[in-house]
Structures are given as structure tokens and as C-alpha cells.
Symmetry: C2
Subunit: 271 residues, 2 copies
DNA sequence: TCCAAGCTATTCATCTAGACTATAGATTAT
DNA sequence: ATAATCTATAGTCTAGATGAATAGCTTGGA
């Protein structure tokens, strides 16, 4: 436990869940890695992984240790940089396309310091890949500090001539059997639509609001988009207030967030 | 560098600045400790201490490493507790008598969770002794996150019959040659008085506002106290607005504060 | 059903990092 | 001066880490 090298070994192993491959990556023999992990588990008094057939998976303790190991590695690296007087490691922000494009601009402009922008969300923060995240809250936000940032309503984008454009207020049942431009299956926005909307036809699949809007303008179909999206010429946006508003959040590691991450979080929350 | 045991060794050494004693405390031979520190310095590429005659003192890198080492140790301990499912380590708050007695009550009552209260301030936080501090800003607050909490004015406590009680507004020059109850030499409040007030007589020395007030009530002398102190019966408080207000601050470790520390800080700042 | 592939896990011989003893070198106090 | 108190180095030794060889388990395909 008291060696950072062991912690790193565990991290690599936990990320692959395969002793053989992990040992290669660590330039270590497989038995050496194995005993290392075994001793680590023994010193912590808890098994770190279990076997199901040939498949390994982390125990709860193992998952906690993985988070901890990533944190420690990052902390050590930060310190060594600081000591060498090198420039601070750039801050890594993980967010989605929409948030970058329409929500975060002012905060990013106001932030003085190096930034690395990644696509991602809460999961990127929890895994230590990003120092800060912005997105809609996923299922599991333990280990994360979550601060509500902005509520964004959902609107239906339709051509001015569309029959639905006459109504001031749209109900969900009006949307039955629409030809929709939607994200690919499995994406959060797609899941929300499938859950809340009446049955619809998939006219096209698009990643990101830009492409969605483009398809809509081409006339492939209409789309349900966040209300921050600009309305293209010749189209109107009709609020779907029966659809739950999407809540954007700022995610920080619960313990030991980098100071710059907090600073940027403050900028974002105040923007 | 990659062993936490080495980090602990350095911390003990850095706290004593004596290889022999530190080695004893670590149950290690003196040469073993010496080589450990030497290798640590080599791996970091910087000397960690220097010799002046027989006296050792930390370099800047050494001081940074000391802070880092304390932080890492604390983090590891927190993690091990968490893993063993033990109750969280109680939060240690360092503050002064006055702040405890007159400023922090509501926040401490509102805080749910174990607390350990210590006398101290920013220095306690920087050294890793406390997780959170409240006090007046000292000279060196690098490595600390400082948030202004409350401005407290200075008042002169005098008996109603005292000649100065007739004046509505007191000037500093009115206070020449007063018999004052003051803190012992060297304490911050004493230093401020010596710096700002005209010459005065020391009627008595007292630690803490309670004792100061008691001495004042006994008639040993008058006192300059924070305006949050309750005014005893038969006495009046006259503002000394020429004396700079004392600014109480909340201190957190700049990097990697414990989540509970942030929570309590928020409670304090909002109280 | 049985074998081959792909792992995990153990054993044992080997090797190295790190601990200790002994002692030199340096500085201050008496 | 000399003793006392440290830091620092040299050399030796050992516990523990490492790796080669291999046993044992599980899965998928012939």
C-alpha cells in the first residue's frame, strides 16, 4: 500500500482487468504483478476483485481504490510539476457538444489559464480523466460534487408552414407519429425522447445540435432540441413544457479538486 | 519518491530538522534515514535542506514537499478509514477564542458531523494540523485559500462615569496614557494596539475576551476590544473608527480540501 | 466430448533495494 | 584543546521483490 508504484500497478490492472496485458503494459512479469495486487489486497484487508468464470471484476473496495489511485497519481504529478517550476498542467474540462457550443462560451473566454477540452461528462470526472465536467446528471454521481448550473427547456423545431406551428402551446400528444431527427440509439437525449414522447418515426439520426439543425433545415424532419439552440430562418420553436427540463450540472471530484477547477466552476456557475 | 514511507520519513525529518532524532522516532538507523532523504532529493532533482554550520533548514522545495507529504499522509489515512467503513475522521477546526465565542456559534451548531476544535489559525491549516481555520489573516497565506468572513470594529470599553464616556466619538489621541487591559506581548491584538494607539500603560495582561472583560469590570483598567464583545453593565463601548477594523477570514488548504471542510466553510460564511 | 487457447495463480531460484554497523568529517560548547 | 553532538560515507548483509517455469481453471470450437 505504501508504494505509489503499487498504486499505479493496481490502476493499470483495474483498467484492463487482465493481469497478463496489464503486466505487459507495466513492463513487469505477470506473476510479479499478481503478487503485488495480492499483497495490496491483503494489506488493505479486503479482496479487490472477484472471479466469475474467467472474467474478473472489481469489488466495491477495488472501485474505491481505483478512484483513489487515480487521484493520488494526479496529485503526485501536479506536485512534481509545481516543484520543477513547470507550467501548471492544463485543466481538463469534459462536457458535451451542446454545452460547449451554447452554454460555456463566456466562462471559457473569461478563464485565464491553459485548458484542454474533452467530450465527456460526469464519468470523465469520476475516472480522473477530466478535472471538471459539465453535463446532465447521470445515474451514479457518488464520489462527485454536483452543482446545478442551468435548466434548459425542450422545444419542437418546425417549419412556419407546419400545421403544428399554428398552435401556441404544444402538448405531447400532438407529437404523435412525427418524423423526427434524433440522436443515435442509446444517447441520453434519445433515451429521454423515447421515454417521454408518444411513438415517433426516425427520419434521420444526428450527433450534435448543429447536424440536427442542418437535417431539420434540409427538411428531413422536425426535431426536439434544447431551447438554447438558435432557431433557423423559416422555422419556429414551440415549447414542450410537458417534457421535463434538462438540468445541466457542474461536476467536481468530491475530494481534492484542483484549485483551478474550482475557479472555472465558479466562472461557469456565475455565467 | 514513490514510497509513502519515504514521504513520512521526510515529514518527520523536516519537522525535527535532526536526522538523529528523526531516525529514532522512525525506528530507523540514522544512516538509513539519511540515504532515504538523499535519494528523495536526488529523485526530485533539488536539495531539500541546507546546512548552516550544524543547523539544518528546509529549502523552498523542502517546504513545499513538507506540505505535500502531510497532505498525502492525511489523504491516505482518510482513504483507509473510508475503506474500513470506519466513521469519518472528525473535522479539525482551528480558530481563536474570540471567534469561537462570538462568531462561530451558529455555524458550529448547524454543522452535522464530528468536530475537533483547536486553538490556532491559518498556520494550523497550512501545517496540516487543522482542516479549516478561522482568524485574522497573518503574513503568509500562500498555499491557502482565503475567504473574507467578517469585519469587526474596535471599541473602547469604559465605565459610564469615565470622562471619555461623555464624548460621542473618540479619537485615538484621546486614548493617550490610558490604563489598558491588553493581551500578553507578542499576541496579534497586542501588536496592533502597540502599532496604532498612542502610548498607554499596561494595567493588566489577559488572554481572551472573557478575562479581559472581567478585569475591566473589576476596575483594573479599560480595554480596546472587538465590537462583538457584550458590553458589561455600567459600561459603555465607544467606537474607535480610526483603528483599522479587524478582518476575520476562513482558511482552507488551497489544494485538496476535505469536502466536509468546504461544507463547514460555507456554513460559516453564510452565518 | 475432448483438446487447444488464454487466462490466473503458485513455486522456487535469483537479484537488488534498502537496512544496519562502523567510522570519518564537521561544528559547537566547555 | 577536547569532548559532545551531528551529518555523511563505505561496506556488508538480508528481506522482499522479480522472473522463469508451470500447474490449474475456464471457455470455445473441432
Amino acid at each position: 500500500m505504501n508504494s505509489l508504484e503499487t498504486l499505479r500497478s493496481f490502476r493499470i490492472f483495474a483498467e484492463t482487468l487482465n493481469f497478463t496485458h496489464a503486466a505487459e503494459e507495466l513492463h513487469l512479469s505477470q506473476p510479479a504483478l499478481h503478487t503485488k495486487i495480492r499483497e495490496l489486497a491483503r494489506s488493505l484487508g479486503q479482496p479487490l476483485y472477484l472471479k466469475q468464470g474467467r472474467q474478473l471484476h472489481l469489488t466495491e473496495a477495488g472501485q474505491k481504490l481505483l478512484v483513489f489511485a487515480r487521484e493520488m497519481e494526479a496529485r503526485v504529478q501536479d506536485f512534481q510539476r509545481q516543484l520543477r517550476g513547470e507550467s501548471e498542467q492544463p485543466l481538463r474540462l469534459a462536457s458535451g457538444q451542446g454545452a460547449y457550443r451554447y452554454l460555456l462560451g463566456p466562462a471559457l473566454k473569461a478563464y485565464r489559464g491553459q485548458l484542454e477540452l474533452r467530450l465527456g461528462g460526469a464519468e470523465s470526472v469520476r475516472s480522473g480523466l477530466a478535472h471538471l465536467g459539465v453535463g446532465v446528471a447521470p445515474a451514479d454521481i457518488s464520489e462527485l460534487e454536483v452543482q446545478p448550473f442551468r435548466e434548459v427547456g425542450q422545444v419542437l423545431l418546425i417549419p412556419k408552414q407546419h400545421p403544428l406551428a399554428r398552435k401556441r402551446r404544444l402538448r405531447l400528444r400532438d407529437c404523435r407519429d412525427l418524423q423526427l431527427v434524433v440522436p443515435p440509439p442509446g444517447r441520453p437525449q434519445r433515451l429521454r425522447l423515447e421515454e417521454c414522447l408518444p411513438p415517433f418515426q426516425v427520419a434521420a439520426e444526428a450527433e450534435g445540435w448543429e447536424l440536427t439543425l442542418y437535417f431539420v433545415v434540409l427538411g428531413l424532419g422536425v426535431a426536439v432540441v434544447n431551447s438554447f439552440c438558435p432557431v433557423p430562418k423559416g422555422f419556429v420553436a414551440r415549447e414542450l413544457d410537458e417534457l421535463p427540463a434538462v438540468s445541466y450540472q457542474v461536476f467536481l471530484p468530491k475530494a481534492y479538486a484542483r484549485p483551478q477547477a474550482r475557479q472555472l466552476a465558479r466562472l461557469i456557475l456565475n455565467s
